[in-house]
């Protein structure tokens, strides 16, 4: 890679109450690319993802060692403002989790919290823009004041993506974003993810290997808290370096 990577992870270890969950992870994630993480349950891929925006800080007893750099700045340094970090590193969760508010208020939440808009017009403009980017505008433009719960699961998840995008993060983390969706909704989200990489660096955890193969530029295989293999997705799924990776990919365990 010639360019400076967006995210650089060096000798990263993570522990839940002293119990090791990630062991000596080293990874470079390039800008405006999609990086997928695959691996069996409990392999540490979600822990890794949630370390990137320090959501794990909310779990009591979680500690890390080593470095996790975004644009060269270690996000675990003492002087890092976690709320600013999370604004810069958005997240989409496994289960769509819209707020029990209107569609409009769901998107506006991040803008209001971070005081990013000076006027009501600016707020509406940004909400509309973000819904358009998420491909949801046409479906919801006449019902912005309806509850977000009135939407289908797939629409809710796209709403959550729009909600994450509206504050203009540089990185978006996705934790199995289609795990609870039907195939059509899944296809729409995957299409959207492809579109988003023009503007964002995307890190996605998935249980679904076809999904990784379809959407990701780079893929990392995790197992028992270690990163076993990390390469271009095409390489990973055609000629993986390690035997264990091949066994996982071909479905011999997992």
């Amino acid at each position: 890679m010639s360019e400076e990577p967006k995210i650089t992870v060096r000798n990263f270890n993570a522990y839940y109450s002293g119990k090791m969950a990630l062991k000596d992870v080293n990874i470079d994630i390039p800008e405006n690319k999609i990086m997928a993480m695959i691996g069996p349950s409990g392999c540490g891929k979600s822990t890794f993802l949630r370390s990137l925006n320090r959501m794990n800080d909310l779990i009591e007893g979680f500690t890390v060692t080593g470095g996790m750099m975004i644009d060269g700045k270690n996000i675990y340094d003492k002087d890092v403002d976690v709320t600013k970090l999370r604004r810069n590193v958005g997240m989409v969760f496994q289960k769509p989790n819209p707020f029990p508010k209107t569609i409009f208020e769901n998107i506006a939440y991040g803008l209001k919290i971070n005081k990013l808009c000076k006027s009501r017009d600016e707020l509406s403009g940004k909400v509309e823009e973000s819904l358009k980017e998420a491909g949801l505008w046409e479906e919801v433009k006449d019902e912005l004041n309806k509850s977000a719960f009135a939407l289908s699961g797939g629409q809710q998840q796209r709403l959550c993506i729009a909600r994450a995008m509206v504050v203009r993060p540089e990185i978006i983390l996705m934790d199995e974003p289609t795990a609870s969706l039907d195939p059509i909704s899944t296809a729409k989200i995957e299409e959207l993810i492809q579109e988003l990489k023009k503007s964002y660096t995307i890190v996605i955890v998935t249980h679904n290997m076809q999904q990784a193969a379809r959407v990701a530029d780079r893929t990392a295989f995790f197992m028992l808290g270690e990163m076993v293999e990390y390469s271009d997705t095409s390489v990973m799924f055609t000629k993986p370096e390690k035997k264990i990776t091949e066994e996982y990919i071909t479905g011999r365990f997992g």
Binding site: N53, M55, L58, T83, K84, R86, R87, G90, M91, F93, K95, N97, P98, F99, P100, K101, Y109, G110, K112, I113, N114, S147, C160, R163, A164, V167
Partner: protein, 292 residues
């Protein structure tokens, strides 16, 4: 013996559960009927409108006046005042114990709250007479501290545990997913509590407020002791007043059975009952609308 016997016993228990469960309904209807039947002579003699909107409650005068408007106004003033104390304190305590306090602090506060709820109302009444009322009298420069505000403060205090514990349940029931969504957008803990957790718990908090209102509206002994007992239509919360419950409890002993006064007290009970029912139905209606 054996299987057949067991089956019959199960059948018997199941058949008993239905009637037991419907007993509260029977009691409710029984109470409503008792109130209306016993109160009816008063309504008939005085006239419903004159009874409810009459400005004078002088049951022992000659001729007597049976207008309960002063009592209704007093009940509303005291209840409203109580809610102004109970809701902010109750909701704030709930937020504190559910979201902010360390487990150690929480384990201390909760039993203390429960203890507060278990104090008999007559003791609260004493507290109002000897402690709060002199303070009010001095601080506000009033002729007497036994007034609507005094009763409202104590009733508010009594309703705090109810409001706090139901609110806390509602707040604790807000899913972690919603909190995570808020944190992931760069909200801090306080913003997450105020903008996500509390709004998501609002229907539960609303229920807490309603129960607090019912508790304050129906409380008797405290208001009898602490509200001052004056018969006129109260002009503000700072004057002595006589809510409906205090009137019934205070006068039942001296009313001659079968007299208009006696029936009028039952009629007051019916009005109180009706207000509470209307209030609860309205609350249920609003709550359903809010959940859509």
């Amino acid at each position: 013996m054996g299987i057949k016997d067991k089956g019959m016993r199960k059948n018997f228990i199941e058949r008993m559960l239905g009637p037991i469960a419907s007993m509260s309904l029977v009691f409710l209807l029984g109470i409503a009927l008792t109130l209306i039947i016993t109160g009816m002579p008063a309504f008939r003699e005085v006239g419903v409108l004159k009874f409810i909107f009459g400005n004078e409650w002088r049951p022992t005068f000659d001729p007597p006046y049976f207008g309960i408007w002063p009592l209704i106004v007093a009940s509303f003033i005291v209840t409203f005042g109580a809610i102004l104390f109970a809701v902010p304190i109750g909701v704030a305590s709930a937020i504190y114990t559910a979201e902010i306090a360390s487990p150690g602090v929480r384990e201390t506060i909760k039993p203390v709250m429960e203890l507060l709820a278990s104090i008999p109302s007559v003791v609260f009444g004493f507290f109002g007479i000897v402690f709060i009322s002199p303070i009010l009298q001095k601080v506000l420069g009033l002729p007497t501290g036994l007034n609507g505000l005094n009763a409202a403060i104590i009733l508010g205090l009594m309703a705090v545990p109810t409001v706090a514990s139901i609110t806390e349940d509602a707040i604790s029931a807000v899913s972690k997913d919603l909190r995570n969504a808020s944190y992931a957008l760069g909200a801090n803990k306080w913003e997450t509590i105020v903008k996500t957790v509390v709004p998501a718990a609002k229907s539960g908090i609303f229920t807490a407020v309603i129960l607090g209102v019912s508790r304050a509206m129906g409380e008797t002994m405290t208001v009898l002791m602490a509200a001052g007992g004056a018969r006129g239509v109260p002009s503000s919360i700072f004057v002595p007043m006589r809510p409906m419950t205090a009137t019934i409890a205070g006068e039942m002993g001296e009313a001659v059975i079968g007299s208009t006064h006696y029936h009028a007290l039952f009629a007051i009970g019916f009005v109180l009952f009706a207000i509470n029912v209307i209030f609860n139905l309205a609350a249920e209606y609003v709550k359903k609308g809010g959940n859509k």
